[in-house]
Amino acid sequence: MSLSRRNFIKGVIAGGAAASSAAYLFRGAGSLFGQTSAPGSVERLLSLTVNGQTRRVDVLKQETLAMTLRYKLGLTGTKIGCDRAECGACTVLIDDVPHYSCSVLTHTVRGRRIVTIEGLEGPGGVLHPVQQAVVDEQGFQCAFCLPGFVMAAVGALKTNPNPTREELAHAVSGNLCRCQDYDKILTSLLRGAEYMRRTT
């Protein structure tokens, strides 16, 4: 390789001497490229209502909700499995409706209610009925897909609290599991529906 190692190393040292900045995934305010707003475009600072709390966040225009949740709000329960709206690991509720948060621009959910897996527990750490059912039935294995499945199921149960096995399978069909005991996943979520009916 004719890359000059000396220049290369010099360059790296020079790069390393640049000022440190915050450990965000995306540039913070006063960013390096100074993302300036064109007239009429959205304001970067916005209020997000997540799990019942309203928080002010500086969000880039191209930032997805999954990234905001994970890297700005510390809500890492929402997983990114594909980042392309294919696997469902990032599923959250927006106004009670399941969405792939990897494919929602954060600026489009201003003023809407967002619920993540961290927001399901009741006061005092009481598990949501669907969470409890998943624990009881040991619904998942590696569980990376679990938050997405649970959020999809919780969202579906809001419109159909008494689903058949078939209906619930369709409701969570936008979520992939690679350990793939879909049978047990479905059983546990169905149990969750039963628990929910019992608690309400």
């Binding site: 390789m1 890359l3 390096l32 594909c82 399978a169 369709h170």
Partner: protein, 814 residues
């Protein structure tokens, strides 16, 4: 060994963290001043880096460091995380660390890499042609592994050049696998005599696809250095065994690696001993002097994330009238990708000799390298591919001989200490520890209402026709010789150190159930310590190949017996008599003849600390692994320590079996296949954790079903680039592609060669389902409709439409 814990369902202690989102996987960790890295991937399948111009990238504000192959330690020609001679499209060439991902990505775009294209090959057969291109500068096939030498680590097989002749390829046009000079072979018995004595000989070629592992969690990792030690949050299947690999990849001592991986978002073999890419954030963090997060994208994962070896196999089988196999001749061309070598082809040969018990068999293989993404073992590596190649032939033979599909498998199935594989230098063949395949077939046929379903197979209703299929999935199911560490501490709790990965199979917790059972500690008082090499873990098997349950229940059995012995000794020392006079139970060690005389575990733990020496881990057995020794030393003095190596004997090699039963419905107007019902039934030894075990059977079955129906990987032949970089291209199974209810069961017959009786279960269901579903499709629409997988609607429809097989006969990666 069933008891109050072993053989019963329980709620694993990690579940609440999982359902609340508090379980932290590698990418969930943050560190002060954390940088982000993005990879520059080779666009070419084989090239040489002539020059890299990073100046424009480095002048970008926020770019902190760039790591190239020059920064990586040499690994004796083995795969490294970055390369100057990319051998597959998508192989990382360099990594940029910057203050955020956007800057890192922008920087990657500003880098000029001058690549010189080199010859490449994506179809394994093409490199075997006379004058065919080689995938690497030094050859194209892996030779046979050198014979193992006492005390030395297994040497890598040689990499050689092998070309076949034009005559060898003569049969290619007929869709039959050319069989030129093999690189490896073995045989036993009278092959020709076997064929001569047979009533039916079938000679079939089958193309088994490659598929990406694609665990839901990609191989993301975050690393930082503190006081000269590397702290790395990564995703691995095997915590204990990954530490040494990371040390080697980074070029430091294993003691200087702290690996944290409490939760692993799946691996399926792709993260067996970690991932070589872990060295990128580690070395970048050192270079940039800041923590580095490497978030691996799904597309990255489809290149660097490992895949199953694809095999094109040809099998010639002779059958007697009653279906008994008289001779089996098996030839495999395995595509082992850009790196290697792998042994799937050997495992496939061994598995075939095991589940069909041919009296005469020949196995020949060529293990070919190509410029396609690197392979690793994937859930049932080898036997599963073998199932795909052979099971449809078994189904065809049954049909031609007028036999039942179950019957033909039953008559050939292994029993007891069944032999398998080649004749060893000792002059004998290996045998398994136990096999109850006939029982499993019988149980399964009954549970599945086989006869009833069989009766309606092949009958049409509207455009729909149904078929049933069965297959026997075998796989090696356990290793031996690992260590365990456990301590009974003065707080009255039993701490079991577990060096296995947490893949959610819960074998890494099940092993503690065995210890608790032996020591009779209530489950609430058991702490399993896992997921962090800073927490002093014992030398543990790789959590791959269905090993953990077998290997680690044995090790923990040994450790628990050691602790028990020490309890007895302490009691005898303090209360008189000989250790044999004492037994344990209800958290006490007490005299058998006077149960009131004894010590509580709390007392015993305190005494052990007072006594020191071997009782609290200051004096350790001589045969344990250095890692175990270091961990036990660090834990010494905390309580009564059980620490031991698994020295239990074993007569034979441990294998598990799962039988798959499938019913499918094929729409002959569209070629669509629906799996109507599925049953997996396991001959997997003693059931330790019933719910997890059935989950393994069903989950593994689903992977096999996906392989039968549509999961694939595709490589564009002209440019040698993977096309299946998205899920809707590679098509992993969804919840709507499986029966709404699946069945699974296990025989629960203990393996006689292991103290707990348990064998592994993760792998064998995959091949069982693969074979069973394809057999069922063959049963529904005809045995000759397909000779490749996945059996997609286009294949079925075209073949039915033309009345003959209508698909690419031999091409790979389509």
């Amino acid at each position: 060994m069933a008891g109050t814990l072993v053989g019963r369902n329980y709620t694993p202690p990690d579940l609440v963290a999982k359902v609340t989102g508090r379980a932290k996987y590698a990418e969930d960790f943050r560190a002060e001043g954390m940088l982000f890295t993005k990879l520059l991937l080779s666009p070419m399948p084989h090239a040489r880096v002539r020059d890299i111009d990073t100046s424009a990238a480095l002048s970008l504000p926020g770019v902190r460091a760039i790591l190239t192959a020059y920064d990586l330690p040499d690994l004796d020609g083995q795969e490294r995380a970055l390369t100057n001679e990319p051998r597959y499209a998508g192989e990382p060439i360099l990594a940029v660390a910057a203050v955020d991902e956007l800057t890192a990505a922008d920087a990657v775009e500003r880098i000029q890499v001058d690549l010189e294209p080199l010859p490449f090959v994506t179809n394994a057969l093409d490199t075997l042609r006379p004058g065919g291109p080689n995938p690497r500068l030094d050859g194209n096939v892996w030779g046979p592994p050198p014979p193992p030498r006492e005390g030395a680590p297994p040497a890598a097989p040689p990499f050689e050049t092998l070309k076949w002749t034009t005559e060898d390829f003569a049969e290619e046009a007929q869709g039959r696998l050319p069989m030129g000079k093999p690189a490896e072979e073995w045989s036993y018995g009278d092959l020709e005599g076997g064929f001569a004595a047979s009533a039916l000989v079938l000679d079939e070629t089958f193309v088994v696809q490659s598929t990406g592992h694609h665990p839901m969690e990609t191989r993301s990792a975050m690393a930082y250095w503190r006081n000269g030690k590397l702290f790395i949050h990564a995703s691995t299947q095997s915590v204990a065994q990954t530490r040494g690999n990371i040390a080697r990849w980074v070029g430091i001592a294993p003691e200087d690696v702290i690996l944290i991986c409490e939760y692993t978002g799946g691996g399926f073999g792709s993260k067996g001993g970690g991932a070589v890419s872990m060295s990128i954030p580690a070395l970048l963090a050192r270079k940039a002097n800041a923590p580095v997060m490497m978030r691996i994208t799904r597309e990255d994962e489809s290149y660097i994330g490992r895949a199953r070896t694809n095999m094109t196999g040809r099998v010639k089988i002779g059958f007697a009238k009653d279906g008994r196999i008289t001779a089996l001749d098996f030839f495999i061309v395995q595509d082992t990708g850009a790196y290697g070598p792998l042994g799937d082809h050997r495992s496939a040969g061994n598995a075939a000799s095991l589940i069909y018990q041919p009296p005469a068999m020949r196995w020949r293989a060529v293990n070919v390298a190509t410029n396609t993404p690197p392979r690793s073992q994937q859930r049932s590596p080898g036997p599963m591919q073998g199932n795909g190649i052979i099971e449809p032939v078994m189904t065809k033979a049954a049909k031609q001989l007028g036999l039942d599909q179950v019957a033909i498998r039953r008559i050939n199935s292994p029993e007891g200490k069944a032999p398998f594989g080649p004749v060893l230098p000792s002059g004998r063949r290996n045998h398994v520890t136990s096999a109850f395949v006939k029982e499993a077939l019988d149980r399964g046929a009954a549970l599945f209402d086989w006869e009833e379903r069989k009766a309606r197979a092949g009958k049409r209703q509207g455009s729909k026709v149904r078929g049933v299929g069965v297959a026997v999935g075998p796989h090696g199911a356990g290793s031996i010789g690992y260590d365990s560490i456990m301590t009974i501490r003065p707080d009255g709790r039993l701490y079991v150190q577990s060096g296995a990965g947490n893949l959610g199979t819960h074998s890494m917790i099940d092993l503690a159930r065995v210890a608790a059972e032996i020591l009779d500690v209530p489950w609430e008082k058991v702490e399993v310590v896992w997921g962090d090499t800073g927490k002093h873990l014992p030398w543990t098997c790789l959590s791959v190949g269905s090993q953990t349950t077998h290997a680690m229940t044995r090790a923990n059995h040994a450790g628990a017996m050691d602790a028990r012995r020490k309890l007895q000794e302490i009691a005898a020392r303090d209360l008189g008599g000989s250790p044999e006079d004492y037994t344990v139970g209800r958290e006490r060690v007490y005299r058998r003849d006077a149960p009131s005389r004894g010590l509580t575990y709390v007392q015993a733990a305190r005494r052990a600390i007072e006594l020191g020496g071997r009782y609290d881990g200051h004096d350790l057995p001589g045969d344990i692994n250095p890692m175990t020794r270091a961990s036990a030393t660090a834990l010494a003095g905390l309580g009564l320590m059980g620490v031991a190596k698994d020295n239990y004997g074993r007569d034979g090699v441990t294998y598990s079996f799962v039988i798959g039963f499938a019913e499918v419905e094929v729409d002959i107007e569209t070629g669509s296949v629906r799996v109507v019902d599925y049953l997996g039934i396991g001959d997997v030894g003693t059931v330790v954790n019933p719910r997890s075990l059935l989950a393994q059977i069903k989950g593994g079955s689903c992977l096999g079903i996906a392989h039968a129906l549509f999961q694939k990987s595709v490589v564009e032949p002209r440019y040698g680039v993977s096309l299946t970089d998205r899920f809707h291209y590679s098509k992993p199974l969804t919840i709507l592609d499986v029966p709404r209810q699946m069945q699974a069961d296990a025989l629960d017959l203990p393996d006689p060669e292991t103290p707990v009786g348990a064998r592994g279960v993760g792998e064998p269901p995959v091949g069982a389902a693969y074979g069973a579903v394809m057999s069922a499709i063959a049963d529904a629409v005809g045995e000759d409709v397909f000779r490749r997988a996945p059996v997609t609607s286009d294949i079925i429809l075209m073949s039915l439409e033309h009345g003959r097989r209508m698909h690419e006969p031999l091409r790979m990666h389509v």
